[in-house]
Symmetry: C2
Subunit: 428 residues, 2 copies
């Protein structure tokens, strides 16, 4: 099989070098060799010695090159990338991509074009870097009905939250973000990562392959981590929890939940052990129960690992009938995505109040009025005459929490903004 590489950035250079370095090992595993027939890139990469591999500055040469069987789309973005992939498919070539945004936003269209042409579009590298999570869900758990999944699928925000956890340092979000930028873990404009958009792209895809639904990025609820303070992390710790930026998708009686937000998880959960830039996805399914997949979520090596795994899959099974989303297209179910207001979960509430008699009674009676019961509560001295009241509620409907928060916010004794962080209750 001959591959053509579009792009020569970090990921593409990793792929080129991995194919070269492990050529022997790969041919032991496939009984054949994988040859890079052409690289299309606007510029060279310092880590790549392309040797006698033909290089073109016009990426569109690659997708029409008759010597190319599999096109690797590794330029990212959704404009040129999309056009490249469409043309590659129309030329009857298989496609392997690491492009989460393109798959999340245009996957349905691409998959139907690919089905017409009888070619494969593979995207293991789009989600959670080196973790073979797409394979695990589409194939390894294919006998199961999947009930939910929850994942740490953005290394940047996980790095920030777990750095903020470091005891005694009281690091702010802003301070750690700066550190992450210095270390190259966060972009100059960190919005995509810390506001959960990147995670939302990945979760969109995970939700589709878990439940067999069309890709619905627009229906996602997304909340970032920039409002989380070192104090929240400390209080959560005292209550037995850690805070992670989770992507959660779940079948409920209202439809499919699809949400990315900061989340409290009990400390003894495997997901709570995931720190730094690592990723992990836990899947709850009817036969296998809970399974978890953990590894590096980004970087040249891990991403290249998944791209090359996809290439090897195509080499081994060029006529594979694994549907792109794991479900045959006619069977995709148009299940409704629940609006966030219809979900129900416990929440962490932090209310800063002037420490005067009767405040606690008012607070708890507002919660009671909305049928929200309190699972645990701590009161902490804050600056001056203020106190922080921190609670974990029992399971409660989002709309009830919203209404209660509005009422609490309007109390004269309440300072600043009431903070709510949802709590994940991961079923068995």
């Amino acid at each position: 099989m001959r591959v053509g590489i579009c792009g020569l950035g970090t990921v593409a250079s990793g792929v080129f070098n991995l194919l070269e370095r492990n050529a022997g090992e790969i041919s032991r595993k496939t009984g054949t060799s994988i040859k890079v027939a052409q690289i299309g890139a606007r510029r060279d990469h310092p880590d790549v010695n392309s040797g006698d591999t033909p290089v073109t500055r016009n990426l569109f040469d690659v997708v029409s090159n008759p010597d190319v069987d599999i096109v690797l789309e590794l330029i990212g973005g959704t404009d040129t990338a999309l056009e490249l992939v469409k043309q590659a498919i129309s030329h009857g070539k298989h496609v392997v991509t690491a492009n989460k945004a393109m798959i999340a936003l245009h996957g349905d269209e691409l998959f139907s074009l690919a089905a017409e042409k009888g070619v494969q579009v593979r995207y293991e590298a789009a989600i959670a870097g080196g973790i073979p999570i797409v394979k695990a869900i589409r194939e390894g758990l294919a006998g199961n009905e999947i009930n939910w999944l929850a994942g740490i699928i953005n290394g940047t925000s996980n790095f920030i939250l777990t750095e903020m956890e470091r005891p005694g340092l009281n690091l702010s979000f802003a301070a750690v973000l700066e550190e992450a930028q210095r270390l190259g873990y966060a972009e100059a404009d960190p919005t995509f990562d810390v506001e959960g958009i990147d995670a939302a792209h990945k979760l969109t895809i995970l939700s589709s392959i878990a439940f067999g639904i069309p890709l619905q990025f627009d229906a996602m609820f997304t909340e970032g981590i920039s409002r989380i303070t070192a104090e929240d992390i400390r209080y959560a710790d005292e209550l037995g929890y850690r805070i992670r930026h989770l992507g959660i998708t779940r079948k409920s009686s209202h439809g499919i939940e699809l949400r990315v937000h900061p989340t409290l998880i009990r400390k003894d959960e495997m997901l709570a052990q995931v720190s730094g830039v690592m990723n992990a996805v836990m899947v709850g399914s009817d036969a296998a129960g809970r399974t978890l997949y953990y590894g590096a979520g980004a970087g040249a090596g891990p991403t290249a690992s998944s791209v090359v795994a996809d290439i090897i899959d195509i080499v081994r099974n060029p006529t594979s009938s694994i549907p792109n989303l794991g479900f045959v297209p006619e069977s995709l179910a148009d299940l409704a995505i629940c609006p966030i207001a219809s979900i129900s979960c416990p929440v962490y509430l932090k209310v800063l109040v002037q420490d005067r008699p009767g405040v606690m009674a008012r607070l708890t009676s507002i919660l009671g009025d909305h049928d929200i019961s309190i699972e645990s509560l701590i009161q902490k001295d804050a600056h001056g005459a203020d106190a922080a009241i921190v609670m974990i509620t029992d399971d409660a409907p989002e709309h009830a929490i919203n209404e209660a928060m509005l009422e609490i916010q309007s109390l004269a004794a309440v300072r600043g903004e009431v903070m709510r962080i949802r709590v994940a209750e991961l079923a068995e």
Copy 2:
């Protein structure tokens, strides 16, 4: 595709019921239906309503039944099972099995028979129950050179060790084993599980698919957990470690390490978080780095999940060219398995001594004589005039440790047996 089920015990009943319960979901994923054409079982199972599925008391009917495309070997053991599988292959049928002992001991022969006949023999369910670990290694990480893997692959021994960890209870191995037997987690004769034989079967297979070597169960080093005491667990905890019964296989300059033994792991390792009957395997590879796979290692549901995943794989890719061990047979490398005496790792040493002057000096000078340096050391009062000296050494060759242990054991002040537990240093 039509399957024939051999056996109707816990696993087989789980498979039958899963195929039935999720028939709709499975046909959404495959575009076809999977029909059970025949069950061969010496007796019925209380949880299975076979309805109008033909049942035979002669298991060999199933493997020759022309209505059967895939034979599920779910009877276990290595006598009748082996004969059934051989006959199934000779009749040109694909085979799916959960039988680790059969694959570990006879896999090479079966795979070569299957290759001649152009059929698949799949065994995801043989290792770590519901965790798709075979798929992850053979496919998901196929682009990598794998350097090592370490796994908790026996739920019984993990349950025992983590129960013994419960603070304040000081539970002995024997007491927890009894509890495990009461709960159905351990057999009446627990040897297979607690002495590491079951884990060794699984590790044999994992090692072959990681490194592309023939199955070599006989070369395995195996040590059980029955000598671990609550005290060892407490001391390990003080030193920053937990004790797990690990299967470890690793490429070293001496060849392939292949060993199952109790192991100290640093508390912050993901593997140290795995408790109860859960399983997990961590894989160290050159591109993806460390990835971990976690889930239930046994039980009807999880095992059935993996059996059905294998069936679905065959349905989707009946002509798949994934080699049985992940490497094409001609490429299997006859790498030497290192004898345990040639490995090198840090160890935990516990020496019970009469608390008199000079003992510590003798001890440490013996270690020094063998070029073994001490990483950390605690001394604890034991019963009466005795003291326990507990050390973690730096990396040291096994033969040096063995010699030092002999000398220490011969000291007049030493009571009882010197205890050695190897420490896992999991590379990045």
